[in-house]
Amino acid sequence: MSIYYYLSAFLFCLGLIGTILKKDLISMLLCIELMLGGVALLFILFSKSTGFIDSQLMVIFMMIISACEVAIGLSLIIALYRNKQTIYTDEIKIITE
Amino acid sequence: MLESAIEILLKTIVILALPLGALPLIIHVERRGAAFMQKRLGPNRVGPFGLLQPLADVAKFMFKEEVHPTHVKPFFYVAAPLVALVVAILPLACIPIAAPFELFGRTIFPEVFRTDMGIFYAFAVSALGSYGILLAGWASNNKYSMLGALRACAQMVSYELSLSTSVVAMIFLYGTNDIHQMIGAQTGYWFGFLPKWGVFIQPVAAMLFLVGIFAESNRLPFDLAEGESEIVAGYHLEYSSMKFALFFMAEYIHMIALSALFIILFFGGYALLPGMSFLAEKSPILLVALQALSLITKIALMIWFFVWVRWTLPRFRYDQLMTLGWERLLPLGIANLIITVLFVYYRN
């Protein structure tokens, strides 16, 4: 079971590196999902080692929050694509109009 | 250890063989049923009553040339039909064909994957059903396929909502997630003749679920994903021979799995059909056989219902479909859910 601790750390770090390196918004969102997956795994492992069921509930809350995040993020991307015809972060220079 | 491995292997074989073996028969019923509805004869040349026609079709599919278009995305193009078939088979794993019984001193649960939240598992894996279609549409690299896939996907995601409201209402009502306990709550009779099926307590939820499974399995009147008159054949436009047949099989198996879930929730699952109970008292093995027979009969009637609806109702328009899903069925489902919760709260 101990290998899963390293796995969750690895997933979090990989998501982080992806979020930093990627230029397009969709890939960044994908990498954030990866980070969330790593943290959720860690919560479940804690629930196994401490015996508290609370950390499993945290995973449920995390799923709710990640669903909201993805839905709003993707709709923002679509709105951005409609207005600017781009999804690259470095091409979006002005914030209004 | 070895014994349980053998048990699981046998159960897997049975669960896989039943629907796959029934497929040719279902296709035959579908074609003959279509002919019956339209006052035609249908395929009746090959074998008695044309019963061997599906086998001839299979042979034709096997020996047809595999056309592999050059403009497709090769890996995903091949993977899509397999994904569709595998995902369609997965929900069958938790569907019991009889009550738990004793054999050679072991208690045998007649489902492959025994869990106390079977209904939840079935819906979780059938939520993956749109991936095969989405992959096919994207990998085909073709506007019609893409449109078909997007339509199918949007339709499945939308109707999953009203479907799940009806399932949650039934879970509240039975107070359990376990399929065996759900069916246990539905055995017996009211007033001596009316079976205790869920459909008589929750007709609204049953209706929602019924509409939902038509949309989920992309059958007429909701087969907008294929819609020959608008987008040629939708997501399987670029597929030929055996790959096309795999999509076809996936659709029928998805239909069987969803019908089985519908029957478990609303028509008593493997609970004996009225009039069978006096036979079942003879021996426990006979009881198991009769329960399996009841389930299979109910599923067969359900499949006939699919055929019946297919040749009765015309196809919906896309905006009509979305309006029905979001503005009619979803509020209805939520209202039904609230009423059910209040009922359960005041009953206890």
Binding site: S2, A9, L14, G15, K48, I60, I64, I65 | -
Partner: protein
Amino acid sequence: MGVDILLTILTVVFALMVVFSKKTVVSAFALLMTLLCLAMIYFQLGTVFLSAVQVLVNAGAIAILFVFVMMLIDLEQFPNNRERNKIKLVISIFTILIIMGVLALIINNNIDTLTVINLSDNSMKALFEKLYNTYYLPFEMATVLLLAAIVACVVITNHRKDDDSDNEGADKGVHP
């Protein structure tokens, strides 16, 4: 033990594909596979309910949303490895290695307390008793958050510039 390692290797491979694949659609499907592998890990750890929810919500809804949006946007014109900055890559990899090292130290020092398995009641009943008794306020807030997200999505995607004739009617047939 073997299952642990197999699942870990699978997850790592798919996670690497998410970050380093050249096509965004491939990354999305790799993310789907990662989430399914995580669901299998949850199942192996004995939290069956969470594994089912993971498949239902994360794999069944969130990953579908990703693929759906990717198909609405023409991704051919947006390759996802454009002008990859070498210095940035090296620096981030070093940072990640340092973070991993620190985490590994922490994990290694506490491995005895972390890998003790305390048996807890994993049933749905225990989970939801806790949810509706101790955590009812966060739960209500989460539902409000979901509602806000729904409204936000509808508002954001329905907004149209009046002078933009290219997109006229582009979302007319699309239902919120």
